[in-house]
């Protein structure tokens, strides 16, 4: 529509007026210092001497937010400290935290998985927390995961790891080794009950080294070496262990050009859909896919992770927890909330009830473990290793995934591909 030139005066006044409002609004943002989090906290602290209240800001992502709303409300009731939950996009929240904390605009607390820790420490944005005697009340691997460079930086609240889901109608008995799993799966396909012998989701661009990790560790090929205290050593990349090439060969054997046990075209969504449709007896996945599988009417069992080599099949454990900003103006209140409140049995119970993630606190976990699925996942997790939180891990993921995917697609020589991958990762870690 063309604008006819009518009544310049009024239009002019209006446009300029509206524009200048916007302009000024931008002055505020552009100036970059309408520092709501920090001001509210400092002024709140000043109020408090006169009986006001302290406000903590916590960044959460949409998935974890529901579990925390109730806790925040009851914390306010108990202590008078308000916890404001700012829901952020999960993909961006980590980097936002890193860039915002130094400007003073960051939150007091952030919720996230433990493997963010390395980058947080590298950037100096988190403060250590002292769990004191409470550390013993948590599962050991949870506290270990929250430990970096000898200090504990987070209060754990939930643990996650993968396991092997089995459709008991298709395969009634559990199997120990991956060969048996394949045999059972292929028998189910041969009998016409199933279409796919085994399912695991593959990202079409990055593969999925996370899900395949237990198979790899059972062949004696962890990513990094571990120090005596269980922390990872970035200088000791173990992907190049002799078993690595064997694993690479296995990937080709299982892949698209081989027995098609692992199909590079099956994404996480497709795998879930096929398993829930009863088209496969096995699905290598985490607890997050269990509710939908049960809702689809499947009878499922949670099996131990199958082994390929002689070693143990160790999954990565992801630990969710609370971190306190190194520049929080309310560090004491934040500690009170994270260390003293969120570590209580009642709080961990409540977070489990709403969030559904197995609690990190032993007492709460034991209660949750009355559900056999949770108990089974927990038992498998007890055998796992924390996902490395080292910043160096970022350099590992891309090459590791792309190489595994290429092998599954059957392109390239396994030995050369795996050796090149190890070389590339070493170069990236060194070229910091």
């Amino acid at each position: 529509m063309k604008v006819r030139s009518t009544q310049p005066t009024r239009r002019h006044a209006l446009i300029t007026g509206v524009m200048s409002v916007a302009v000024l609004a931008l002055t505020a943002c552009g100036g970059g210092s309408s520092d709501s989090a920090a001001t509210s906290s400092t002024s709140a602290a000043a109020d408090l001497a006169e009986g006001g209240s302290t406000t903590l800001t916590m960044w959460v992502d949409a998935e974890r937010a529901p579990a925390l709303e109730e806790i925040a409300a009851s914390f306010k009731e108990d202590t008078g400290i308000e916890v404001k939950l700012a829901v952020k996009d999960f993909a961006a929240v980590r980097d936002d935290f890193i860039t915002q904390v130094p400007t003073g605009k960051g939150p007091d607390l952030i919720v996230g998985p433990h493997d963010w820790l390395g980058t947080f420490v590298q950037n100096g944005v988190v403060a250590p927390v002292e769990l004191g005697d409470k550390a013993a009340d948590f599962q050991e691997s949870a506290v270990q995961a929250m430990t970096y460079d000898g200090s504990v930086y987070g209060v754990p609240y939930a643990l996650e790891n993968i396991a092997l889901l089995r459709n008991t109608d298709l395969v009634p008995e559990a199997a120990d080794t991956f060969d048996d799993v394949i045999a059972n799966g292929e028998a189910a396909v041969a009998s016409g009950d199933a279409v796919y012998p085994f399912l695991v989701g593959m990202d079409p661009k990055q593969g999925d080294p996370y899900h395949l990790y237990p198979l790899q560790t059972s062949m004696g090929v962890p990513v990094f070496g571990q120090n005596e205290d269980g922390s990872y050593n970035a200088d000791e990349l173990l992907l190049g262990e002799p078993g690595g090439v064997e694993f690479a060969k296995k990937l080709v054997e299982w892949g698209d050009t081989g027995s098609k046990i692992i199909n590079s075209n099956i994404t996480g969504d497709i795998a879930k859909e096929k398993f829930n449709a009863g088209e496969s007896p096995y699905f290598l996945t985490g607890p997050w896919n269990v509710p939908d599988a049960q809702a689809a009417g499947l009878n499922i069992a949670v099996d131990k992770l199958p082994t390929v080599g002689d070693g143990e099949a160790q999954p990565f454990i992801g630990v969710n927890g609370f971190f306190i900003s190194a520049q929080s103006a309310n560090a004491l209140a934040a500690n009170e909330f994270a260390v003293n409140y969120l570590s209580t049995e009642a709080a961990q119970d409540a977070m489990y009830d709403v969030g559904g993630r197995p609690p990190a606190l032993k007492a709460s976990f034991d209660k949750a473990a009355s559900d056999p699925i949770v108990a089974a996942f927990g038992e498998i997790g007890a055998n796992g290793v924390p996902m490395p939180a080292l910043p160096e891990m970022q350099a590992v993921w891309a090459d590791w995934g792309a190489t595994e995917l290429a092998l599954i697609k059957g392109s390239g020589d396994p030995e050369a591909a795996w050796t090149t991958m190890v070389g590339n990762i070493e170069a990236k870690i060194a070229g910091q």
Partner: protein, 533 residues
């Protein structure tokens, strides 16, 4: 409301002139209200800035506010009134961003170099506080005497002691304890309530009570005001020499001028800070083997991608615009709406959806159009490029369709008629008359579209993520990577963490390339106008 100008066709220009001269009361009122709101908001912002002691920004904000008021309150100066908001947005969104990127390009800003040296020292000191192994956990009460906060600490065995910064712990035998055995009061001191503790949290967190006269024994600190532990730092900082010393091994970490503390044998403390590095990032852009190796291939593909995308979307858009411009076509509106749908689709989402559609085994394309053939659309180097171009065509043609429809409709019908009278065929009318006329108005948009596609991050990143990978580089760069996705991979995907400095430097280089090409093209467009003019 004075109705000097009756609504109607644009014939009554003189009366409107009058209305311009005598400012209408309503207009004036609106002006006062809006400017008042603006100023009120400005004052609010300035108060906030004042409280935060951000003087420079405060001064700038004040100057901008005064300038805006001056522009809109004075008589005359109409051009400034129109231009002011636009220029303001330009400064905030373009100039500021460019200057900031320029600044970042000369720093080592990125993971591990995130803030100031003071912050880094603070973070290292925080992390260096390690609890003395097997030391007891104390329950504490915060006391106050003469404005100084003290810790009243109860050991698990019931021993009670008191102390504050600079005053080692000493036993306090006459302390009052509560039911659990925790000391809560001491004569001569006032016990702080929880609210007061919160109000003074910074001071309370800073209390460091020496455990004994020997600093080696560590000191008692509290994190939550109710429990305290004995800590001993593992590193000590010397401000004068700006070095950290490891108290166990004696290793010294000094500031080597590279934005981190480094020991003589090259070991560095994990947290560093931001420093200026001069042209280092730019040098790296031209010397890094990861960039140089695949650079030529990536450049060629970037240009191919941008040019083919512009031409293909323009060709399809123009064809459809022409086809749906027939005066006697029925249901034109519906067709046009359908045409524009892909335009309403966010590009990153489209990338994901298409990567599903192009799945070799389960994807809709292979299953429906190719009878279940296993065509590796996104993993074969050539097919991946074709797929990227096709998806970008799907995403981009509605824009060209819109632009061309608009331009076609604004062409005078007489030209068309004249051509027909002269007996020109439809094709000839199109190529000899319509297209040249069209290009005058559309050519600048084609250049803009080129610049956009040159940096079309979303489509590449979401569809193929640059894959399939090249074999000759250790970086995660592949056959469909364009310059901007390559920059992303290099700056954020190699080494350990993100390197905003390098990313900014590389973006500036790309900006220069795009700017040069655009400038040359715009000059060419001028020539186009001269021919037609």
């Amino acid at each position: 409301m004075p109705t000097l100008a009756p609504p109607g066709p644009a014939v009554s220009r003189p009366p409107r002139k009058t209305s311009l001269q005598s400012d209408s009361t309503l207009g004036l009122l609106a002006k006062i209200v809006l400017l008042g709101l603006v100023d009120a908001f400005a004052v609010y912002v300035m108060i906030t800035l004042f409280l935060q002691e951000k003087w420079l920004i405060l001064a700038v904000a004040a100057a901008v506010t005064v300038l805006i008021n001056w522009i809109y309150l004075r008589r005359g100066g109409l051009p400034a009134k129109y231009l002011a908001p636009g220029i303001f947005f330009l400064v905030v969104f373009q100039v500021f961003v460019m200057l900031y990127s320029g600044y970042v390009a000369f720093t080592n800003y990125g993971d591990g170099h995130n803030s100031t040296k003071a912050d880094a020292v603070n973070a290292i000191q925080l992390s260096a506080q390690q609890r003395v192994p097997d030391s007891p956990a104390y329950r504490v009460t915060i006391l106050e005497r003469d404005g100084v906060f003290h810790l009243l600490a109860t050991e698990p065995d019931g021993t009670v002691s008191v102390g504050t910064t600079g005053e080692p712990l000493e036993q306090a035998e006459d302390a009052v304890t509560d039911g659990t055995g925790k000391a809560t009061e001491l004569e001569g001191y006032r016990t702080l309530q929880f609210g007061e503790v919160l109000a003074n949290q910074a001071d309370i967190l800073a209390i460091t009570v020496p455990f004994s006269d020997d600093p080696e024994d560590g000191s008692l600190k509290t994190g939550d005001g109710s429990s305290a532990y004995v800590y001993r730092p593992s590193l000590s900082y010397d401000e004068d020499t700006s070095t950290f010393t490891d108290l166990e091994t004696g290793t010294t970490y000094s500031d080597t001028g590279e934005g981190s503390f480094r020991s003589d044998d090259g070991e560095q403390l994990s947290t560093g800070w931001k420093i200026n590095v001069g042209f280092e990032n730019f040098t790296k852009a031209f010397s890094d083997q990861n960039i140089r190796g695949p650079l030529l291939q990536v450049m060629v593909w970037t240009f191919t991608f941008a040019i083919v995308s512009v031409l293909s979307t323009f060709a399809l858009g123009l064809f459809l615009a022409n086809a749906f411009n027939l005066p006697d076509l029925r249901g034109k509106r519906i067709y046009r709406i359908l045409m524009i749908l892909p335009y309403a689709f966010p590009a990153f989402l489209a990338g994901l959806v298409w990567s599903g559609l192009l799945n070799p085994e389960f994807g809709f394309i292979n299953n429906t159009f190719f009878g279940g053939a296993d065509i590796p659309w996104l993993t074969d180097p050539v097919l991946a490029k074709v797929s990227v171009l096709v998806v970008n065509l799907w995403l981009g043609f509605p824009y060209m369709f819109l632009v061309c429809t608009g331009a076609l409709q604004s062409l005078p019908e007489e030209v068309n008629e004249a051509a027909r009278m002269d007996g020109a065929s439809a094709w000839r009318t199109f190529t000899a008359i319509k297209l040249p006329l069209l290009l005058v108005s559309v050519a600048p948009l084609l250049i803009a579209s080129f610049a956009f596609n040159f940096n079309n991050f979303n489509v590449i990143y979401m569809l193929t993520d640059g894959g399939p990978r090249f074999d000759n580089t250790t970086a995660n760069i592949g056959h469909t990577d364009i310059l901007i996705t390559m920059v992303y991979e290099i700056a954020f995907g190699t080494g350990v963490g993100r390197d905003y400095g390098l990313a900014s430097a590389l973006s500036i280089i790309i900006f220069i390339i795009v700017a040069v090409i655009s400038a040359i093209s715009f000059r060419q467009t001028k020539a186009l106008e001269d021919i037609n003019g």
